[in-house]
Symmetry: C2
């Protein structure tokens, strides 16, 4: 399948790149040309006229729990611990692998509507999840969610060894749930697995202040300091949330090449706090953005996350100049690709993966045309997503003004199955 | 024109109301029936099958500067004063009445896409603005923006006397820009006008801490205390922003029946701070929500504002339980209608204005169906707006999956005119 996208405004997201008008050519899953319009003898299966709309790398959602769709809006406005213990854990215990497969598909429908082309996923039943993403043509990198109560370090290593290389779209990396759900011994075993396989590690870190205080009570140090001391990040990795960190933590993150995945909507809705994003950027720590799961957010909308990430940073700094728009776009494209270990999904360039989005500029919220990159971050919405392409395949478009999903099942079929799951579990 | 909406999930927003399944009948600009499905001999010009989607009162945007669309995303990530003095005031000075007329129309296109059915507007050239809204069939209540440098108290009273009663869709109320742009003498004259006409007054109050500190320096009291002491709010009114207030201020707001219009997105993007919304609600002060103008927000999306209003309150309180979803829905419907002096646009009931929205629940972000009102606030987006009706007329719909605007001019014509205005003024 060869595709040519002509008449596009293009933002490659390469270092220092500016928007220019040109074309993009795709052969199979890879980009073959990005540049000025040019004559070619090549024959294309499909030519898409972008009509001067914007094309840029697809948005990456660097932390989510997709299958939690079944809990969306079932229990909001509750304090964090009450919510987790009464409204999340008891219901999650009732999920089957089949449920997780279907609930993940519902999340994928939502991802493509906001231009998300890949996600970093942490949940249970990773085989079922890999199958759901692979069937829908969506890129996913899963990480282990192991902890004292669910999964095991052996399973994490098993999945690492068996779930990679099965499909070009799905991968699996070493991960565990969090310091506060894992014993010291458990964490040492994770560090051993990472060492043995020379792999980065991914985990929740320092989402709430109580979690940090408890860790200090247990080990006399913060979660960041403790996990680094245990050798978990000998090959780097990333921490999800990292809301409550000290200047010393930030030094440790930098020294250990631990990236930050911020989850602004979830941190806001659960009142976890505002992460020190500006401090991370100043320290040269790479930052990406995740929606977190739909039970805590409650939507899977990268546009809302982009606005919140800069907005919350501005509030924390007391300065409208904090974390400008272009920094946010880096977070959801090139930074995220590196952090999520899919480096070929970072920018638009020959040889890179054809994971990209087209943004409709002919909508009231994008008019008049001023600075397009700022407009995308401060005013963009799902309604501006004209096309979501993953691995060279269009999964979603609004070319004719309608929402067209290109999957083997209609959205309504997936809604119906998920409603039944919700009704069975929540009653 | 008689319209019947059948097969709807209905949320009337009357005190204590729950969602039920039924129908709504409309005759001209008014609702004639809301309730269970029932036989009728009435003949309707139009019957709309809501297909079990949600119908509720239209969203009200209680503070905006519509025509600032021309500055959207032209200068972001700048400190507030630098932004105002270098990037806003010099360009606003170049606007003609014709410009403001067209730029307001661009904003109206955007309002209807997020289900906004009326706005409280503060800008220059109110005759031109009234004409734009009237022509497009959109409801507006304008307020004076008078200050030492623009407009005058005489003009405000003149507009109050001449701009009301011209159209059922447009009104004008007493207002002035802010304490910090008006002399003491000016503010006294505003108070006199309000007294003479027995009218509430609307103005920006305590948006930033420097503004509060300067007022204390000038008069030895906060803006809230000073304006109340001057008798500005003898007939009530509302303050826009009210981010930086003391417990004493909150007492004064309550005693003087001064409502609060919060502008979460703008306060976040300009790093103004987080308003104490929970404190206002606890004191029984009515709260509504405004987008503020598109130069500071940058979009005019009531869904984003709803999420931010509760989210920022949760962050400020350090509690996920702060300002629950239903409170937010009240703010953008019944509370706003009262504050904006259009009391008949508050709820769905016989005799009330037919200003309403239909929300598409068959989208991934609204599935599965759990608590629909929570879903609307925490997960809703413009893409869920299936219909926006003002004064009994459908201004926008997505019944066939496409965005259908029902105005006498195509969006593209409005975009083109506004782009020319932007290019002329910003170069």
């Amino acid at each position: 399948m060869k595709t040519r996208i002509i008449n596009a405004r293009i933002l490659t997201m390469e270092e220092g790149s500016e928007i220019f008008e040109g074309e993009i050519r795709i052969d199979g899953s890879r980009i073959t040309y990005v540049g000025a319009p040019a004559e070619t003898d090549e024959v294309f299966d499909s030519v898409i006229d972008a009509k001067r709309n914007l094309v840029l790398p697809g948005f990456k959602n660097a932390h989510t729990h997709s299958a939690m769709t079944f809990l969306r809006s079932s229990a909001d406005d509750l304090p964090l611990l009450q919510w987790l213990n009464e409204q999340v854990f008891p219901f999650e215990a009732k999920l089957t692998a089949d449920d997780i497969y279907s609930l993940s598909k519902l999340a994928i429908l939502e991802y493509v509507t906001s231009g998300i082309t890949s996600v970093m996923e942490m949940y249970m039943q990773p085989e079922a999840i890999a199958q759901a993403f692979d069937e829908m043509g969506m890129r996913v990198v899963q990480v282990g969610a192991a902890n004292n109560f669910s999964q095991s370090t052996e399973l994490v290593e098993h999945w690492y060894k068996t779930l990679n290389g099965k499909s070009e779209l799905t991968g699996f990396r070493i991960g565990f749930h969090a310091e506060y759900t894992c014993s010291e011994d458990f964490i040492e075993r994770i560090a051993d697995i990472a060492e043995r396989n020379r792999q980065p590690v991914f985990t929740h870190i320092s989402e709430g202040q109580p979690e940090v205080d408890e860790c200090i009570g247990r080990y006399g140090m913060t979660p960041v300091a403790f996990l680094a001391k245990k050798g978990v990040f000998r090959y780097g990795g990333a921490g999800y949330h990292l809301v409550h960190t000290t200047p010393e933590d930030i030094e440790i993150l930098k020294e250990n090449r631990i990236a930050v995945v911020t989850n602004s909507g979830s941190n806001m809705k659960l009142a976890s706090g505002i992460a020190p994003i500006e401090d991370y950027l100043r320290a040269g720590i790479p930052v990406a953005i995740g929606t977190d799961g739909p039970a805590s957010n409650n939507c899977l909308d990268i546009f809302r996350e982009m606005f919140l990430t800069t907005g919350m940073a501005k509030l924390r700094a007391g300065s409208a100049a904090a974390v400008p728009a272009r920094e946010v776009l880096k977070m959801v494209t090139c930074n995220a690709a590196k952090i999520m270990t899919i480096p070929d999904a970072d920018v638009l360039a020959p040889g890179k993966l054809a994971d990209l989005v087209m943004i409709d500029l002919n909508q009231p919220n994008m008019q008049p045309i001023n600075k397009i990159d700022c407009n995308l971050v401060y005013s963009g919405s799902k309604q501006n997503v004209m096309m979501t392409m993953v691995h060279g395949r269009i999964l979603y478009d609004q070319f004719d003004g309608r929402q067209n999903y290109h999957f083997d099942r209609e959205p309504e079929e997936i809604y119906e199955v998920c409603q039944k799951i919700r009704d069975r579990i929540l009653g």
